[in-house]
Every structure is written in C-alpha cells, then in structure tokens.
C-alpha cells in the first residue's frame, strides 16, 4: 500500500469550522476506525502529514458498502494544516497514505452496542454505525451547532442522546454523564473523543463490567509505526508482554480500554 494521489470530489463547510472532504478512492478497502494520512501541501511548512478518520465510504452498496468509489472525511479547522486544507477545491489532488491502523472490532451478536462520541470523535463512529446498523449513540459537543452530522446517524435508525456543554441541545454537561444509566455488563461501548472523555468512559465501563473500545488520537509524524511519536502508556496488563508503550497509529488507534494506563494518558 503505497502513497497515492487522489482527486478532491468536494470540500464543503458543514458549519464555520467543520468541513466535509470527499476524495476519489478505489482501493484499498477501508474498515471502520481506519485513518488516512493526508499531505495538505507540497511545501515544507507544514511538513508532516495529518491523520484523519474516515467518516463515510461513498457509493458503497449492500454487502460491498465498504467498497465504493470515494471516501468522505470530516475535519475541523484548528491550525495551519487544516486551514490550508479548507482552501482546497474540487479537482485538486492530494497525497494520501492509507488506510492505516486497526479498526473497531465487530460486537458480539448478543451485545448491546452503545457508541459515545465527543466533538470530532463522531467521525470514525459513523462508518462503524453504518456497518453494524444497530445500537445507540451518545453524542457530546460544546454546543448544538457542532452536532449537525447527527442527522446522518438518525437516517441509519439509531437512537441518539445529546449532551452539550452550554446546554443548547440535550443534557447540559458531559456526554459521559449519560453513559451510567444505559450500560450493563452485556453492553459493548465504542468511544471516540477527547482523552478526558475517554478516560471517564473507560472508568464507568470498568465499574459496570461493560466492554469498552476506544479510538485514540495523538500527534503523529509517520502513521506507520516507525517514528514512535504517538506512544501512549500501556496498562500493567500489557506490560506482561513487555509493551510499556503502545503506538496509537500501528497498535491502534482502536484499543480495548483495559489496555491503556488512563492515569498517564
């Protein structure tokens, strides 16, 4: 799987800071939870690629829903790299490395599925939700305006509960507040969002005896397990295998939450 250049199909703002980026994409096939490394400019600044979760496979149908003719990423403009990306238009070419990493493991057929997202953590969960087509979603954001993509999940028939920090939609407070009431030992939780949210979700799941998978985000230079920049501390469970640090890019980005040392995240 080499670097490839792909054509931009669309690059449209969802709101003032969020964009949907459609890319022409044939192979290799994407699995939910995979990410890609994009180079936003040919220049030297910014130098490094940026990791982006894959939101959607375009044009995939039925059994082949993960094999389409394009992919959609959703990104937030946060710095120089994403600023440059937001100025790109249809027909322009981007260098992409991917798909990379290990995706979400499929839930046991008898498991209740709860997805929990914080902010941009919603991105990899949509592809997952569209594959399994069941479960419920707990979606946390700063305010209502950041929850626009929820309608895509509604279209899949998923039940959604919202939490916003400013109270403009749903529960006023953190999305993890909603988790306590809805999980049992028969639940498998799939979580993606900021590290404090994931830590809280992992704690609640451990207490309730529910399985929890988290998708982590870290600054990374290569995306292929060689720069060793995206290390996170592994729990003692992992230390037995002499893996004190695990790499988000190549060991993850999806991990069983029990494998992470949450006190040192």
């Amino acid at each position: 799987m080499q670097e490839q250049t792909v054509e931009i199909l669309y690059n449209e703002p969802v709101s003032s800071r969020y964009f949907r980026l459609g890319l022409k994409w044939k192979t290799p096939a994407i699995a939910p939870g995979h990410f890609v490394m994009l180079r936003v400019s040919d220049g030297l600044d910014p130098l490094l690629r940026r990791p982006f979760g894959v939101y959607k496979v375009l044009g995939g149908k039925g059994k082949d829903r993960l094999k389409g003719d394009g992919i959609e990423l959703i990104y937030q403009v946060v710095g120089k790299g994403t600023g440059i990306l937001s100025g790109k238009t249809r027909g322009e070419i981007l260098s992409v490395l991917g798909p990379l990493g290990n995706g979400f493991p499929a839930p046991h057929p008898s498991a209740d599925v709860v997805m929990i997202a914080g902010g941009m953590g919603i991105v990899p969960l949509y592809l997952f939700a569209s594959t399994i087509k069941r479960g419920s979603l707990l979606f946390g954001a700063r305010s209502k305006v950041e929850t626009l993509v929820a309608k895509d999940f509604k279209a899949l028939g998923l039940k959604i509960k919202f939490a916003t920090e400013d109270g403009s939609l749903g529960h006023k407070g953190y999305v993890t507040d909603l988790l306590r009431g809805v999980i049992t030992p028969a639940t498998t939780v799939y979580a993606c969002g900021p590290a404090p949210m994931l830590k809280k979700a992992a704690e609640i799941c451990a207490k309730e005896g529910a399985r929890c998978f988290v998708s982590l985000e870290r600054a990374m230079a290569c995306g292929i397990g060689v720069c060793l920049g995206c290390a996170v501390k592994a729990s003692s469970h992992n230390e037995k295998e002499n893996k004190n640090y695990i790499m988000v890019c190549s060991d993850g980005p999806v991990f069983d939450s029990a494998l992470i040392d949450w006190d040192r995240i």
Partner: protein, 308 residues
C-alpha cells in the same frame, strides 16, 4: 550505457560498499522491514536501523513529538527492542535484501557500548556499526559522550577494539566546534563520521505555560536544520580525512547533492521518511538523474565545492 561500465553511483564508505550514496537515518526507518509495503529497499544504498541498546528500552513519556516550522521536535528516548531481539527477530527479515545494513548503537556506559558492539560482531548481515554518541533525549550517557572530545574518543577506541566491523561515529551539532569532535574521533580510530544528529530545541504551549514535550526539550530535525548541517559537513570535511556521511533535513536529491558537494561521501535521509516512506529511494533516483545529466560520478562529486 555499456553493462561493463562502472556504476557511477557506487561509493565505498568506511569499507562499506554502497550501490548508491543514499542511506536512511537511524530512528526514522524502524528496523527496515516496516518499510517493505511502501518502498523498494533494494533501491537504497544502505539502511541504518533504530538505535540499539544492550537491554530493551521503553522510551520517554508522551507527548514525544511536536511539529515546528519546516521540521519537528522529537524526544522518543531511544525506545528500542534491544540488541538481542534485533539480531533474533528483526535482522533476519532483511536477509536477501540487496542493501547495506548498518546497526546504530548506544549505551549509558562505556561497557554497554562495548557489549552491544560485541553482540553485533557475529551477526550475519550487518555491514557496519554507527555509534550514537549524540542523542539529546536520554538523561545518562549519550550527550555527555557526544559533547566532550575526550569522552567521545574513549567510546570510539573501545568500540573499535570490540568489533571487526567498520565503525561510523555520529556527531552532535550541539557543540561549540564540531571540527574538534570530528578530529577527536578520527584520532581514536573511527572509520567514518556521520553528521548531524538533531539540534536541541524547545516548544512552549503559551496557554498552559508548559513545554509541549513531556521531556521539556527535544531534538529538532527536518529541512529547517539543513543549512546548519551542510555548513557543518563542509567544516568537518576541511578538518578530517575519514569519509563523511551527511544528513540533516534532506527531502530531495537536490538537498542530498548539496551535502555531497560539500564533502559527504554518502547521505542519510531521515525525517523525510515520515512524510513519504518512499522518499529515500526517490532521492537516489534523483541523484542518478543528476549524475547522468552532468556526465559525472558520485565519487567525483564528493567535496567538489569551489569557494571564494
């Protein structure tokens, strides 16, 4: 081109035969086999693997990297599998790959350097040893050896005695006069020098008023440091007669050729491997194009700079 004609890209550095002058820099290319899905290893002159210590090392806490203008700062902390696991598990994966494999080594004590070198001496498929006396990201050893000419010379002569393999000493740019360091390790018996390792740097998060890296400081690499590296290679080439391997921010063949013209017999591509895992092969290809266009050889180009 006639088949009998000598390969215009070939160069011998410290007795190590390279089919072209492009190697990959330690710490940016794993143990080599990780790049098989992304590039053709046989297009490279050589591979320098991730720095090896006697025992496995877990590395530094996170965050370990931060991007900077035209570069990046890292403080990985020499995380590696240890020399035994390298020999047993990683090295066999490179068997049959037509490229030179150089093992980069480091220790916290002189004895550790010696032990690691001894283990590699009998390993099949290792063409040479690069001694890291210059990593800025470990608390013990490393940088002390790399900034004191007497200490550096001690490491080099001890490793030289411990192995029959050619040795390359990797120099730190974080010194007042790199020529002194180069001269000291040359006198101690190194077969070649490689430079530069990263420049010590620091990035601060002004909202938190804290350093971004968990270790406070880290090593700066990437094109931001290239002019400094070229200058140092040129200076060292004036001071020593052992071959030089130049590195520091090489992204393209043009960048690599600057080092060669300045006096480097070979180059190492580092941070560029993160941006494009095929970049070292592309650099080699670009040098081949330049050499053909100018009707010359790499050997002729080395140190061909005219000044004044």
């Amino acid at each position: 081109m006639k088949k009998t004609k000598e390969n215009p890209l070939a160069i011998v550095v410290a007795g190590i035969k390279l089919k072209n002058p492009v190697m990959t820099a330690s710490g940016t290319f794993g143990y080599g086999s990780e790049f098989v899905p992304y590039t053709d290893l046989s297009k490279l002159g050589g591979i320098v693997v991730k720095g090896l210590s006697l025992k496995p090392r877990q590395g530094n806490p996170s965050p370990r990297i931060v991007e900077t203008p035209c570069g990046m700062l890292n403080a990985i902390g020499l995380q590696n599998v240890g020399v035994e696991a390298f020999i047993d598990e990683k090295l066999p994966k490179l068997k049959g790959v037509d490229t030179a494999v150089v093992a980069n080594i480091f220790g916290e004590t002189l004895d550790e350097y010696i032990e690691v070198a001894k283990r590699l001496d009998d390993a099949e498929g290792v063409s040479g040893i690069e001694i890291n006396i210059s990593c800025p990201n470990v608390k013990k050893g490393g940088i002390v050896f790399g900034t004191d000419p007497l200490e550096a010379a001690k490491v080099v002569s001890a490793v030289k005695k411990a192995t029959r393999l050619p040795i390359i000493t990797k120099l730190s740019p974080n010194v007042t006069d790199i020529k002194l360091m180069a001269k000291a390790v040359e006198d101690a018996g190194t077969d070649a020098v490689s430079l530069i390792n990263t420049l010590t740097g620091m990035v601060i998060d002004i909202e938190k008023r804290r350093p971004v890296l968990a270790t406070t400081t880290g090593g700066l690499s990437g094109p931001a440091i290239r002019p400094v590296a070229v200058r140092m290679v040129w200076q060292v080439s004036q001071a020593v007669s052992v071959p030089i391997i130049g590195m520091g921010g090489i992204m393209t063949a043009k960048d690599a050729l600057e080092f060669i013209i300045a006096g480097a017999s070979a180059v190492q591509v580092g941070t560029a491997n993160f941006v494009d895992p095929d970049s070292a092969a592309k650099v080699a290809e670009g040098i081949a194009g330049y050499v053909a266009r100018h009707g010359t050889t790499v050997k002729e180009l080395v140190g061909s700079l005219t000044t004044g």
